[in-house]
Amino acid sequence: MTTAHQPNAILVLEVDGAGAHPAAWRLDNQTPDSVLDAQQIAKAVLAAESAGFHAVSIEDSRLAPGSGPGARLDAIQRAAFLGPLTHSIGLIPVADSIYTEPFHLSTQLSALDGVSAGRAGWIVSAGGTAAEGAAVGREAVTAGELPGEVADVLEASRRLWDSWEDGAVIKDVATGRYLDRSKVHYADFVGKRFSVKGSSISPRPIQGQIPVFAAEPLDADSDAILIGAPDLDGLLAAAQGNSFPGIRIAELDFVLDHAGEPAADRVEALDGWEPWHSPRARFTGTATDFTDYLLELLGHVGGVRLHPAELRKDAQEFAALVLPALRLAGALKPIRTGNTLRETLGLPAARNRFAAS
């Protein structure tokens, strides 16, 4: 048990598709193919940035969605597209750690950090299912083996990100040397299923180490963990348990009253098309009640990842009514244009494991 403290939290808005509800695309004021329109995605994220969200997360999966829109653009690329268009908001794609080449993944995230001036994050996903493996001709990874595999991928990524020390590029005209090779290291990672020699092909990311978010059972060396529970009380209880040294982010679905229509009616209308099966706790109700709930929750965790039932409507209500109330109550971390995501999260500068101390 932890006792509640003065909240100093971050808000992460999930912006995938038309919203978390599988029928959200039906009632959206957009054509069904708008999930493929990068300009529409940018519009939603610019609105989130103006409203004062600290970051957006971008869901992804190696499999075609089982319900809702059948299409999904690569999450790292969506985040990269948003990089030059935004200035303060963190960009946190979900990326699979099990079937992606660790070398490519680390480089892609490093490039995302570059195009966003240091605002990249990474939500590690790890399905390990046979269907995901079949896409790349590999075997399933059992649930018991997933944490170890994630830890290996994370360690390989971190070693690659550190493989160029800051200051490795010297441009020394007198000796003709562009690099100081004593500051470029092999990653030399050997894991259970793969090894990576390194060095990275890219210099160290702007943030040094990109903030990594992982679901609770996969918490190996992540900067933040995502915690969840099936209902609101369960989430409060989970929030009060604390064995993780880093930032804890609560996962939460939400539906708010919108344009005179009560939240419960909105869910009923959506469910009439397709039921909403979600493992996450769900808030359904008024902005005032949601603010009260969040003020309590944020006393125990470092932030929330908010999954709006309908992206445009629920994010808009949240931005208009809940977010200002949380800000006024002093519950949110400050946001400064030009901050890196590490700075926004309050993480210390990342030490390079290869640098002489």
Partner: protein
């Protein structure tokens, strides 16, 4: 002589942002970072101002090494190509976005998905420059290691590309519901998995993305061997060639035309753009002076010795860069001490003997000799804006090439003089576009829609694709 009234073949320009290796000048204060996003933004926006068709990025899979150590003399470090291009899609409107990507160290379903994603994000402007590798040294960074035999490179690449095309062709926007009241997001049947069983992979993958505004990404290819040329003739839309001289370009065009027709495609289906370098100024003498300066910047004493070391196979640190070439033979038979360079496998003894003769005959020291050897393989255009424009006009009239893929030797300002001075000269001569022809890369390269878009694959058809991916 042609007259100004007749329509002429239009040349197209692409820019290959290589950024690394010895071609990129870094010893001058104007040289900016080749990894900062702002350098990319500046260069691509300049290219778009100059109606360039395409912006290319290379791919790095392992940092270069020389004599067993990280190569420290040349520019090194590059960001992931597709991630960067997705960001550049946000700050450009028409220019094509070309990612060089290796078929050996990527998974077909993954690569097809990421390229389709880039194609949709950019509104139909993506392309894939297909390259192959087979060495275990590069493989040390990847799960599968060095699994591929050299002889299998193109068979593997072709099966990879065929699988990617099937994934891209699985479904289209016409399959998406027109509005939210239809029974499902897919208006028709949901797409079927693309199945493939082969020597290197067994794949079952259902595409998550529809065809793009240009149907699928444009395919570039650069391999120059007979196998590489046949591969391009069967699969590619554009060849990024190494034949920039006018006569060589004509011979190459004739060869590619024959191979393309033999592959059952119209000759116009494959465009040719030689990789090239432009060193331009207002006058001929200024351009010559600039040429000399660029070579001095690219090849200093250390770079000259390192160049020779690749072929001699040992450190030549004791030699005077302003003295003659080594008077002894290499102790290696094939060059391989610089990993990640294009010179692996050159016959060292024969080559270096001929160099020694040639340098002696011309009275060149090491530095002068190596500087004379550098420059783009495809071709260097050195001269005044007007004279180079005249030269390019002859290329346009000859039909030998469809354009050029320019590697700037200076980042990020290396296209400024080309766009500010050469492009208007070409437009005046009627051999260069004055506006973008359309919104997609395919349109802007003058390519037709692909004719081999696969019909929907049924389960029974799967046996047709028993190929060697």
């Amino acid at each position: 002589m042609s007259t100004r009234n007749q329509p002429k073949n239009l040349l197209r320009l692409g820019v290959f942002f290589q950024g690394v290796n010895s071609g990129t000048v870094w010893k001058t204060p104007e040289a900016g970072s080749q990894t900062d996003f702002e350098s990319f933004r500046r260069l691509i926006q300049t290219a778009e101002r100059g109606i360039f068709s395409a912006f290319f990025l290379g791919e790095g899979l392992r940092l270069r090494e020389h004599l067993g150590q990280i190569h420290d003399l040349d520019v090194a470090g590059r960001p992931d190509a597709q991630t960067l291009l997705a960001a550049l899609a946000a700050v450009t409107n028409r220019i094509g976005l070309v990612a060089t990507q290796n078929t050996t160290y990527n998974d077909p379903a993954d690569m097809a998905h990421r390229l389709a994603s880039l194609d949709l994000i950019s509104g139909g402007r993506a392309a894939w420059n297909i390259v192959t590798t087979d060495n275990a040294w590069t493989g040390a960074n990847f799960r599968r290691g060095g699994y591929l035999d050299h002889a299998d490179r193109y068979t593997h690449a072709e099966a990879f590309v065929a699988t990617a095309k099937r994934i891209w062709d699985s479904w289209g926007r016409e399959d998406i519901a027109a509005n939210g009241s239809q029974s499902a997001w897919f208006a028709g049947n949901a797409p079927k998995p693309v199945e493939h069983t082969g020597k290197h992979y067994n794949i079952s993958y259902t595409s998550r993305l529809p065809r793009s505004a240009q149907i699928r990404p444009v395919l570039f290819q650069a391999g120059d061997s007979a196998e590489g040329r046949d591969f391009a003739a069967r699969q590619a839309d554009v060849i990024f060639s190494a034949h920039g001289g006018l006569e060589a370009a004509k011979v190459f065009r004739a060869d590619i035309t024959a191979r393309t027709l033999k592959a059952g495609r119209p000759a116009s289906a494959v465009k040719i753009m030689p990789g090239s370098e432009f060193i331009l100024a207002a006058t001929e003498s200024e351009a010559e002076e600039k040429h000399r300066w660029v070579r001095e910047q690219q090849i200093g004493p250390q770079q000259a010795l390192a160049y020779l070391e690749q072929f001699w196979g040992e450190s030549l640190a004791g030699l005077d860069p302003e003295g003659p070439l080594p008077d002894f033979d290499p102790k290696i038979s094939e060059s391989d001490v610089t990993r990640g360079s294009g010179f692996q496998g050159a016959k060292a003894v024969e080559l270096t003997r001929s160099w020694r003769e040639s340098a002696k005959d011309q009275g060149l020291n090491i530095l002068e000799f190596v500087r004379g050897k550098s420059g783009r393989v495809g071709g260097s255009f050195v001269g005044s804006y007007a004279r180079v424009a005249d030269t390019l006009e002859r290329y346009a009239e000859s039909g030998a090439v469809d354009g050029f893929n320019i590697t700037p030797w200076l980042i990020p300002s290396g296209l400024d003089d080309i766009v500010n001075h050469l492009v208007p000269e070409l437009q005046e001569r009627g051999v260069y576009p004055t506006h973008y022809a359309g919104d997609t890369l395919r349109e802007n390269l003058g390519l037709e829609d692909p004719t081999d878009v696969a019909p929907a694959v049924t389960d029974e058809d799967n046996t047709r694709y028993e190929v060697a991916v």
